[in-house]
Symmetry: C2
Subunit: 106 residues, 2 copies
């Protein structure tokens, strides 16, 4: 079962759900940015600077969290997101590298 914040365990992740999470342009950019950051880098939702409402942003981060791609941790007033790189690499080898290597628009 996913934990209280909706993070699935690696065995609960499905490739199709992960791909569906990545299919949206904003979410793809989030994962690609995290994949290009140093391993374990944590970023707040706001730090990405997307021109969307807070509720839209929350929705997208929830989809990412529930797919298993990111982990969100509370930091008082904000939440920071990290890529679950090692777990994704173990579960779906090569996927993070593909996203890292491929800009949304070539």
């Amino acid at each position: 079962m996913p934990d209280a914040e909706g993070h699935p365990a690696p065995a609960e992740m499905t490739l199709r759900t992960v791909l569906a999470a990545l299919a949206d342009p904003l979410r793809y950019e989030v994962v690609r940015a995290l994949a290009r950051d140093a391993d374990g880098a944590a970023r707040t939702c706001a730090s990405f600077g997307f021109p969307v409402s807070k509720s839209t942003l929350s929705h997208h981060f929830r989809v990412l969290r529930e797919s298993g791609l990111i982990r969100q941790v509370d930091r008082g007033n904000s939440r920071a997101a990290t890529l679950r790189r090692d777990e994704i690499d173990a579960r779906f080898p090569g996927l993070v590298q593909l996203v890292r290597d491929n800009p949304a628009v070539p």
Copy 2:
């Protein structure tokens, strides 16, 4: 530019569009079935036996074709689909293998 049937050249494919094509359960099943078939195997849309209308099926195969995942060729009364495996492998290494290895529902 894509050809007259909407098949993009490999350089025109984007990972995000390919992932969006794979995000739908029916389309994921089509690609996974073709990935598990012998290389170059061609199948008609009807051969998959999905319980959806012909127009819905046509829509899904068009999305797959326009993403670059499959090639469709006319066969008189029907169209046969093949996975563009070598081109996808060259453009997005490891992706076909991931789909092949991961059932939609684990």
